[in-house]
Symmetry: C2
Subunit: 115 residues, 2 copies
């Protein structure tokens, strides 16, 4: 994290997530088996791997409680990192970790015909 460019000040705590070596493929598959979550990951990835975006930025038409649930699932599976920025919870895809652990996985997701 020491070399990471953080575009906004006021960054605070990172929400709990598994270490890279603890990320499990079956759990990742389970998290990404939901089309909505693939969409979320694709949109976040489209912004680059050092950019954090809020839950509402992703633009999914679902109640906030549902979004909370999905983002949590992605975080706990190790797919995204979430940090608190004031009132927002901003996320980014853990591209480096996932590419190291599961080479090619994110390319599959990026190519998925789901918007």
């Amino acid at each position: 994290m020491t070399t990471q460019l953080l575009p906004q000040a006021g960054q605070e705590e990172r929400l709990e997530q598994p270490e890279a070596q603890d990320i499990r493929l079956d759990v990742v598959f389970a998290a990404l088996s939901d089309p909505l979550r693939i969409t979320i990951v694709k949109r976040l990835m489209g912004e680059g791997d050092d950019v954090f975006r809020s839950c509402t930025w992703v633009g999914i038409d679902r109640p906030k409680s549902t979004l909370t649930h999905h983002f949590r699932a992605l975080r706990e599976a190790g797919i995204i990192e979430q940090r608190r920025f004031g009132t927002e919870r901003r996320s980014r895809v853990r591209v480096a970790d996932l590419s190291a652990r599961f080479p090619g996985l994110l390319e599959l997701v990026a190519a998925a015909p789901l918007e």
Copy 2:
């Protein structure tokens, strides 16, 4: 199928499966989110992509009804092909189809630390 080497005679009908272009990534992820199914696929792949193996050959310690359920899930997701050979239902992984549609996916499965 015309160039496929079939090691046994008496091959009969192929069970229903999705066409290669109809295989969906989220459905594949869902099917492979079960550790037992990853194990099944790994063992089948260890035999090569033109070799059919029966459900019991795979050597999973589960009642037959549970195996039937899992194999069906893999087939309907498009991950395996199943054919009837006498009393047996033999399966092989659809390596060519999956590699074409989702490059690298089977390598992830093969490398998964699940036995």
